[in-house]
Structure formats: structure tokens, C-alpha cells
Symmetry: C2
Subunit: 239 residues, 2 copies
């Protein structure tokens, strides 16, 4: 923790990378950008970029997302630090340490390229070919983390619009986990957790065009889930 000479060492670049998820047509999508320059020109990658001298990684993440993908309304964006990837050689040009984030967006406006990115697009999760740098791994880590966090936090409401039905919330869980849930039991669990959701009095909305109109709910104030909402037990679950 000494060394006042700022230029004594080979400089590090500090960047942010974002794995931004959203739901479109009941399928999980990821936001990717097409690289305009070498290395990996023409390949798809996670949006991200350099942290400026006066910002934190979190601030940089929000700024880069807006710049590169044209998403103007990032107010509803849930940002969560994932981990930092620091292996030498991650970037062939120079030493780059990247702080990765997982992010959730409720309704996804169309994205378009900007600044460094030739193009930006929502891609169904799993269909993306090999990404630039170590972004495949970052994306996989982010997906794992989001799935795990769904069990013991209220994170799922970050995928929902301001007012939503319990059926919609259940679909969020089912899509992210890739499993089916029992509707009556899901209902009870959610409503039994104080602060998870709060009812919008009197409001109701048709969902599938048919059927009984569903009551509307807002995200509650709670952030943790006690007891947790465990996904159906598949025995040999990986670490």
C-alpha cells in the first residue's frame, strides 16, 4: 500500500462488462453488441467499456450501457456486481481488469449500436455463438447467479413492469429456472412472504385474452426472502 509514483508500474485498464437480461415472448434474452474493431472485430460481445477517472464501476456500467446500446431509460435497471475478471491475457492488447455486472431489465426497448458498437441486439439466451474475450464465461456466471438469487431474494420483480400479475411473476421464475411451478403453491408462497409483493387495490387485468382478469401487484419493500423459494429439487445439482 505504498508507492506514490503513479507511473511506476505498467498501467492497468479497468473496464466494466454487463450481462443484461430481459424477457421477450416468455424467453430469456441477453443484450449483445457487435464489435466494430480488432480484436474480435465482427464478433458479438457483452456491452461494456472503460471506467473513467471520476466514476465508480457502477456509474460506468450505467453510462456505457446507455452509450453503446441506445437504451435511454435505464432507470428501471437492476444492477448487481458479479465478480472481477483479472487473469493476465484476457485482452490481447494490454492488461485489462474487468468488473462484471449482472443486470435485469423489465420490458426491453429495441437496442441499436452506438459509440464503439457496430450493432446492439437482444439475443435469445443460449443461441449466442462464441463471444469475444472471456465473455462466454462471464455470461454463464451471470446466469447462474441470477438463477440462484431468485431463490432467496425478491430479484424476480426486477424483471416485471411496475404493475404485474402473479401469473406473470410465476412465468419469470419458470423462464429463468427452466422449470414448471405449481400455481396454487407459488401464489401462497409469494403472498405469505411479507413485503415481496403488495396488492394494487381493485385493479385487475386480462392476460391471455381469455380467462378471469388477474389482480395486479406491485413490488414490495422487502429485498430478501424468508423462507426462500426453492426451485424443484434436481438431485445432482452442480456447485
Amino acid at each position: 500500500m505504498d508507492g506514490y509514483d503513479k507511473y511506476a508500474h505498467e498501467p492497468f485498464a479497468v473496464t466494466v462488462d454487463l450481462a443484461v437480461f430481459t424477457l421477450r415472448d416468455a424467453a430469456l434474452h441477453v443484450l449483445l453488441v457487435e464489435r466494430g474493431q480488432e480484436p474480435y472485430a465482427g464478433r458479438w460481445a457483452l456491452p461494456g467499456g472503460f471506467v473513467q477517472p471520476d466514476e465508480s464501476a457502477e456509474t460506468a456500467a450505467r453510462r456505457e450501457l446507455a452509450e453503446e446500446t441506445g437504451l435511454s431509460d435505464v432507470s428501471g435497471l437492476h444492477l448487481e456486481q458479479l465478480r472481477t475478471y483479472s487473469e493476465p491475457g484476457r485482452d490481447p492488447r494490454m492488461r485489462v481488469v474487468s468488473v462484471a455486472f449482472a443486470a435485469l431489465l423489465p420490458d426491453a426497448p429495441e437496442a441499436h449500436g452506438g459509440s464503439d458498437a457496430a450493432d446492439a441486439r437482444w439475443v435469445p439466451h443460449g443461441t449466442a455463438g462464441p463471444l469475444a474475450f472471456d465473455h462466454d464465461r462471464i455470461l454463464a456466471d451471470a446466469h447462474d447467479r441470477v438463477g440462484a438469487k431468485f431463490e432467496y431474494t425478491c430479484l424476480a420483480t426486477a424483471f416485471c413492469p411496475p404493475e404485474f400479475t402473479l401469473g406473470e411473476l410465476q412465468q419469470v421464475y419458470e423462464t429463468v429456472w427452466g422449470t414448471e411451478l405449481d400455481r396454487p403453491n407459488f401464489r401462497r408462497k409469494v403472498l405469505a412472504t411479507p413485503g415481496f409483493v403488495e396488492a394494487v387495490p381493485g385493479a385487475a387485468r386480462l392476460t391471455g385474452g381469455r380467462g378471469k382478469p388477474a389482480a395486479l401487484y406491485r413490488a414490495g419493500t422487502a429485498t430478501a426472502l424468508h423462507p426462500p423459494l426453492l426451485r424443484p429439487t434436481r438431485e445432482g445439482r452442480p456447485a
Copy 2:
């Protein structure tokens, strides 16, 4: 992700900070170093230091720990990335981005100062006065994370010597969580989780000087706990 000029921006320094925990006399201790230089000269801080150009943050963490605290045997050390602290102004000298780690050590050899550190010492958790920089917060975050991870991972065995009794493992949980657990139930839960611990055939050891000798166990191969070992429910647990 462009910008080939390595010196175009004000350089960032990348450091690691470690919150290393151990158990001494059934109390949780943290490893701290006394700063020899300004800023915060004479104040206690978490061990850590600059990442070198050719190492990852994980490698740097192990190296700095050995250098600063004289702990030679860091083979049994469990390292876990916590998060990265990147707020501008964390360090009054320059822009420092720090990758923080939580670490667990089974039996703690005495520590002594080295390289940058005037002194290094194991301090009972909670008794440390205000630390340098934002290290109070990092330490608190690390403690929260370790406590939470105890619930759904086998992490607790990282606090134990190679062979240990179930009573010792239980004490680890009780110390870290600050609660008491029911011995018969704890036993059953641990033994019911495949791969958590494996019995050492025939081995037994006296623990408290008196009483029946306890059977010995080794850490198993499992890393995750299903079902989790939840700490006693205190209702309004913070996020």
C-alpha cells in the same frame, strides 16, 4: 473497448484487500496489519497490496498475504472473491480499484509484520477500532458473506484442521453465526448430506479432556449443501 494508447488515461492502480478469518479459542479473529506509512500511518488495516502486471488478483492475494504477515503455509487457505470497491476517493493518493477477498484459515499461526506492514496481528472480530480506508466496510461485507455461505455450502470445513470432530464443526458454525445449535439435530443434518464429511474409520479423539472420545471426520468432496443448513430464524433479518 477501443483505445490502444495505454497511457491515454490517468492510470488506475489495482490492488487486493483480504479479510482473513480464523478461529482461536472458540472466537472469530481477523488478520490485521499496522500501516507504516501515510496515509493512515499507525492505523490498522486489512492486508493487501498492488497486483503485479503478470498475476491475477487471486495470485496477488496469496502473495501479499505471505509477504505482509509472514504466513508461510497458505496452502490450506480458502480464498473467495468478495467484490470490487471502485469508488473514486477511496484512497486519497490516487485512483485505486480494489478487489476484495474473504479468506478462511484453519489453525492460525502467529503473524508478524513484513514488507509494507509495521506489524501484523490476529484480532478478535469486533474489537478492531476504525480501520484505514474503507476497510471497515469491506470487513463487514466479508463477515456477512461468510455467514451466508455457511448456510448453503460446505465452507465451514475450511475452518477445520484436516481431521476434526462433529463437535468442533458445530463450534465453527456457532462461533461464526453467534448462535447455539442443537447437537443431535446438527449431527443428523451434517451426516445426512452426502459428501459434506466422511468418517475416518476407527479414529477417535478426546476433546474437552473429559467425556467420550469423538469420532473423527474429514472434509468431503461436496461443495454445495442440499438441503441448506439454515441458521435459527431471527425474523427481521436484514438483506
